[in-house]
Every structure is written in C-alpha cells, then in structure tokens.
C-alpha cells in the first residue's frame, strides 16, 4: 500500500471528458475503494456470529449495551485515527481521559465552584496537554512514540500524585450535590429511550464526532493536509502544507476527545479513581487499525475507526452474552479481533485487485 490521499470524488455535473482522472466511477467501485470497507465486512461477520451463538445478543436492550461499549471506545478512536492518518501515535490518550475527569472534579470541588467552571477548565487543560505533545514532537523531531510515552507516564504520576495531594485519598470526592451537576450530567452521561432501546448519550457524541471528522478529512483543506503529512512529510512541507500546525492540531483533537470521554467518566459516577485509564490507549489504536488505518500513516478513515470500535464493543460484550468460560475471555477477545482483522485485510486486497 503506497501512501495516497483518498481519491477525490468527482464533482457532480463535471463536463470535462478528456482527462481519465476525472472519469466517473460507479458507486460500487467507489465503495470498494474506501478504507473502511474491509472492517464493515468484518463487523457484519462478527455480528452474525454472535447473533447465532448468543441468544440474548439480538435483543433490543442488548444492542443498547453494545452500542454504549462501542461509543466509549469510539469517541477516542476518532481523534486517534485522525492522528494515525497524520502519521503519529498518542500513548497518553488513555490516562488523559482520567486526567480530564480529575481536573474537572477537583477544580470544582476545591474551589466550591459551579461544576461548569471545572468542566471548562478541564477542556483548557486537555487541549494544553495536546499542544504540549504536538509542540514537543515538532520541536524535538523525536518519534511520537517516545514523546507520548513520556507524557503517558508523567500523566499517570500526576493523576495519582495530585489527587492524593489535593483530595487526601486516591479517588476524588463526590460532586453530586454541587450546582450544575445535573445539567452537566444531562450533557455527558444521560440516556434516552428510543423504541425500547436505552441509548446512552455517548452514542450521540460518538456519531457527531465521526461525522465532523469525516467532513474534515474528505471535504476540507485541513483533511488534505492530514493525509499529506501522514503520507510523505517532506513532500507535504515542500508544497506548502503547514506540517507542524497540522500535527499540533491533531494532538489537540485527541485532547478534545479525552475531554468528552473524561467528562462522561466523571458524570456517570460522580467520583473518579485516579489510577484508571492505563492500557486504554492501546484499545483506541486497535479500533483505528481494525477500521483500516495504516500504522505508518497516510491512509484510513474516521468511519473506519467507528466500525473498529463497534467490532471491539460487539466482541467484548458478545463473549459475555454467549456465556463462554470467563477465564478464557481475553483469549476469545484476541482471537475474534485477529479473525476480524484478517477478514478485513483479505477483503481490502480483493477490492484493490478488482480496481
């Protein structure tokens, strides 16, 4: 797979016939060329599999649970996928979610301020950490793996150290009785019932993020920059793409995602354990990769990351619905994900061959 920008869809009503690059391709062809195609097939396969082996999997209420599990991963998988298309990693994404929740909770509590003040301060902090990652990366030119590994460890320590120093214990104090809690909870951790399905609001956040990210990637100049930076950095710089700004922006995107996830974490429980979140960064990356993002950058999609998160959610909950031996949970999870990804790769290869 060479690094390429996505084939620009020909503008409707295009009259210039001579250039073959502007030839209209059929809808099927265009679908086959999308990065997320393989993962969609994988998702359908996983869905059918659990529909057959687990009788309670097909219930409407179960669907709500699976969607919730997928959305919690998906909200972070979207910005992480964008970052990977831009050719970089963020290992601090998992604990950054916890940091976001901790900042919000402790700021409001310690100053006895309205909850919304803490929520906004938390947004500023997560974006600032994103800028820190981005600036460190662009200034030092070290691999993002090392830079964000450092941030990951520092944040893990800060989460614990600051929480203990400020709250006296390793979890935050309850903020459920403070002003603004109910309205913030409604925005970040409420649920709606549609046709017997309990839909958590995180699902809506997730879909909105996917839509916005897809629009940015396919319809804006910033989207082209992201593909260019991840594909061939020096070439991109040579044609005038603001490489550094794009990267910093991508890290800020991860900060934004972490902020949303973090606020959800806080407002669904009203207290936060400071040690949480370690290891989740890999799950976000896994979701993006299952969804068709290349680890080397330059290729992938936001919709793909959503499908990847959905596969992960279906598999991890499907095993519970199927009532398999819990001791083997991790084995089944790994095997299912591997199979889904193999299917994904196979389909993509086929699709490219027919092009």
């Amino acid at each position: 797979m060479t690094a390429t920008a996505p084939a620009q869809a020909p503008a409707p009503g295009d009259k210039a016939p001579a250039d073959e690059r502007l030839l209209k391709t059929s809808l099927l062809r265009r679908l086959l060329g999308r990065p997320e195609l393989g993962s969609v097939v994988g998702a359908v396969a996983v869905f059918l599999f659990f529909a057959i082996v687990a009788d309670s999997f097909l219930r409407a209420s179960s669907f709500g649970t699976v969607l919730y599990a997928a959305s919690v991963i998906g909200i972070m998988a979207v910005p992480v996928a964008l970052l990977m298309i831009g050719g970089e990693f963020d290992l601090s994404a998992g604990v950054l979610v916890t940091s976001s929740a901790l900042v919000s909770s402790m700021f409001s509590y310690q100053l006895t301020a309205n909850i919304w003040v803490g929520v906004l301060v938390s947004l500023l902090v997560t974006l600032a950490i994103g800028v820190f990652n981005g600036v460190m990366l662009t200034r030092t030119k070290l691999p993002s793996f090392i830079i964000t590994l450092g941030t990951f460890l520092m944040l893990t320590g800060l989460n614990l150290g600051l929480t203990k120093m400020i709250s006296g214990t390793v979890s935050t104090k309850s903020i459920a009785d403070m002003e603004g809690f109910e309205s913030a909870k409604a925005l970040f951790a409420s649920q709606v019932t549609i046709g017997g399905v309990n839909l958590k609001i995180t699902v809506l956040w997730w879909l909105a993020l996917v839509a916005v990210a897809t629009w940015i990637l396919l319809r804006t100049r910033a989207g082209n920059w992201i593909f260019a930076v991840g594909g061939e950095t020096e070439a991109a710089r040579a044609v005038g793409v603001p490489v550094n700004k794009t990267r910093i922006g991508l890290y800020m995107g991860v900060g934004l995602g972490a902020w949303i996830s973090g606020q959800h974490l806080l407002f669904s429980f009203d207290v936060v354990q400071s040690g949480e979140g370690v290891g989740n960064e890999l799950i976000y990356i896994i979701a993006a990769v299952i969804g068709g993002c290349l680890i080397t950058g330059g290729y992938g999609s936001a919709i793909g990351s959503a499908v990847g998160a959905f596969i992960f959610g279906m598999t991890s909950k499907g095993i519970v619905y199927a009532e398999w031996d819990p001791d083997w949970f991790k084995f089944f999870l790994g095997a299912m994900l591997l199979l889904a990804t193999l299917l994904n790769a196979w389909v993509r290869k086929r699709a490219e061959a027919t092009r």
Binding site: T112, A113, F269, E276
Partner: protein, 333 residues
C-alpha cells in the same frame, strides 16, 4: 507580546468564571463547614527513632492501599517511626524493593504475600539480616514459612464464606461474582469462598478493572443474559457503583453486595442501593503492622501467638452507616 495578551485573556476568563460560578451546595466549603479532623497527627513516644518500611503489591491509585497507608502512618507518627512505602504489582519487582530496604538496614519491614513464591527469598534474606518482618493482607498461610513474626490480615476464603452464608440468610438463589483483575489469587479465593458456602449457584465474570465504562457495560451484558441472577458480589468498592449503574441499564433487580468500603459505598448502603459490604479494615492492617514491629523492637512483643491476626471479615449494612460515615469520608475506614 501576542502570547502575553493571550495569557492575560485566559486569566481574565478564569477569573470571570470563578467569580460567576460558585456552587452553593457541596464542595470543599461544605467539608470545611463540617469540620473534620484527619487520621494523622498524634503524640510521639520517647523511644528511639526507628525506620519501618512497607512493600505491597498494590496497583497505582488503589483506594484500599491508601487506607492501609493512613493506618501505618498514624501508628508511625505515634511511635516515633519513620515510615517508608513502596509498591509494585509484579512479584519480582516487589522482591527487589524488599532487597533495597534490607540494604538500607531498616528496623522492620511490612510485606504482603500476594505472590509468596516471588517474594519468599527476599523476605528470608531480610530475616537472616536480623530485620523483623510482619506480613499483612492476604497469604497468611505462607507467613510462618517465610519466617515472618506475625500475620495481620483477612483470610480471603473465610471472607468469601461469610458472604456465602449471608447470601443464604437473605434467600438468594443465583450469584454473580465480579473479578476486576483476572488471575489475582486473592480475588479468585473470595469467589471460591462464596461458592463453598452459598447454597445457590455462583458464576464468575471478569471485567477490565482499569476501565469503568467497560466494566459497567460488561456487567450490564451479563445481567441481561442471566435474568435469574438475583445478587451480584463485587470484589472492590468502586465496582459496586458500576454494578448499581449496570443494574439500572439491564432492568435487573439483583441485590448488589461488595467487598471493601469507601465513602461512595457507605452512601449507597444508606440509600439502600447496596445490601451489605464486607470490611476487612485495611486501616487496622497498616496500623497494627507498624505498631507490632515497634512493640517487638522496644518491648520484645510478638502479636498473634504464631497464628494470623484477622482484621476481617466484618459485615457492614445500612444500620452501621451513621457510625461509619465520618470515618470513610476522611479515608480511614
């Protein structure tokens, strides 16, 4: 110049937000109004300054070990002891930490035996070097073999059995045991203990302990499948809250019961969202370990007479809440 202006604007926004947004309920202000003394700070004795180290298998940010430490620190400040603490989940790393304290020639070491094989050699080296060792928490059956003075903790299987019996008296038929760290020996022992005495059936469920939303949805999925589950036993306090949430999501009316206490669990006991909690009094484990070593150093005492000293299980229900609330709020119960 531009950055200056930006920073100033940022500060102004923060100040404005602060001025506009004060909460009239809860928060630090209400805590201060209630006026709560912490568990630390006591009067020192006149014995020589000792140095006692504690090495545990705690993960990062675990509430439970935080309470153990508060107990140990309280005893340390009372006994004129300098208290040192280190922890690592890996048995091998834990052994190295013990070695380093032996090299430092501390006056006593407190150790957990979650992975007895891994730390055995290090503990024996400490004993050989003339440093008294007290073991705490789980692994009481290995304590004597590694040469420790005494063991202070809870027998995990005994605690599990107590839960099983309590579930019998509550007339439960099918229990779900939620393990938040797969492969942890003491957690498995708790579930096995429940299984031993409980007359109904017990099913285990492994969840991702470091990921609350994922834990919640896994428990929710399990409750949707097993509609006949009428009680859920969680093995750590934060997971009780996750189960209460999952229960609502799954439309289940199973009773939630949990091991260990924290402020949130006490609130839920009060609100009747949780049936009972099993307290193993972690504060006591930290306190007695340091105090025991101090007594051994200064008065030649040995605690327990060769048998483990049990700090639990103590069953706590909504009735006990009024007495407990203020202790959990300051993190000593």
């Amino acid at each position: 110049m531009r950055t200056h202006r930006k920073a100033a604007a940022l500060l102004a926004v923060c100040a404005l937000a602060l001025a506009a947004g004060c909460s009239s309920g809860g928060g630090k202000a209400s805590e201060e109004k209630n006026g709560e003394g912490g568990g630390a700070g006591g009067k020192a004795v006149t014995t020589d300054r000792l140095k006692i180290a504690m090495v545990t298998h705690s993960g990062e940010g675990d509430t439970f070990w935080d309470i153990v430490q508060s107990g140990a620190k309280q005893a340390a400040s009372k006994d004129n002891v300098e208290f040192l603490y280190a922890a690592n989940k890996e048995g091998k790393e834990q052994a190295q930490l013990i070695d380093s304290y032996v090299a430092k020639k501390v006056d006593g070491i407190v150790v957990t035996l979650a992975k007895p094989e891994a730390v055995k050699a290090a503990v024996q080296k400490a004993v050989a070097a003339g440093i008294p060792v007290v073991t705490i928490n789980s692994g009481g059956e290995h304590s004597e073999a590694v040469g420790a003075l005494s063991h202070i903790g809870q027998e995990e299987s005994v605690a599990g059995e107590a839960v099983g019996e309590e579930l019998n008296t509550r007339g439960k038929k099918k229990a779900l045991c939620v393990i938040h760290e797969q492969g942890n020996v003491s957690l498995e022992a708790r579930c096995a203990g429940v299984k031993k005495t409980f007359r109904g059936t017990v099913e285990n469920l492994n969840v991702e302990g470091t990921n609350m939303p994922a834990s919640t949805s896994s428990i929710e999925a399990k409750l949707q499948t097993g509609k006949d589950i009428d009680t859920v036993v969680t093995l750590g306090a934060p997971f009780a809250a996750a189960t209460v949430k999952a229960k609502a999501g799954a439309g289940s009316d199973a009773e939630v019961n949990t091991f260990d206490l924290n402020a949130e669990v006490v609130r839920q006991l009060k609100a009747k969202e949780i049936g009972f909690a099993v307290d193993q009094q972690p504060y006591l484990q930290g306190y007695l370990a340091v105090d025991g070593l101090w007594l051994h150093r200064t008065n030649g005492n040995v605690l327990g007479g060769g048998k483990p000293v049990l700090t639990g299980p103590a069953l706590v229900t909504g009735k006990d809440v009024p007495a407990l609330e203020k202790y959990t709020a300051r993190g000593t119960r």
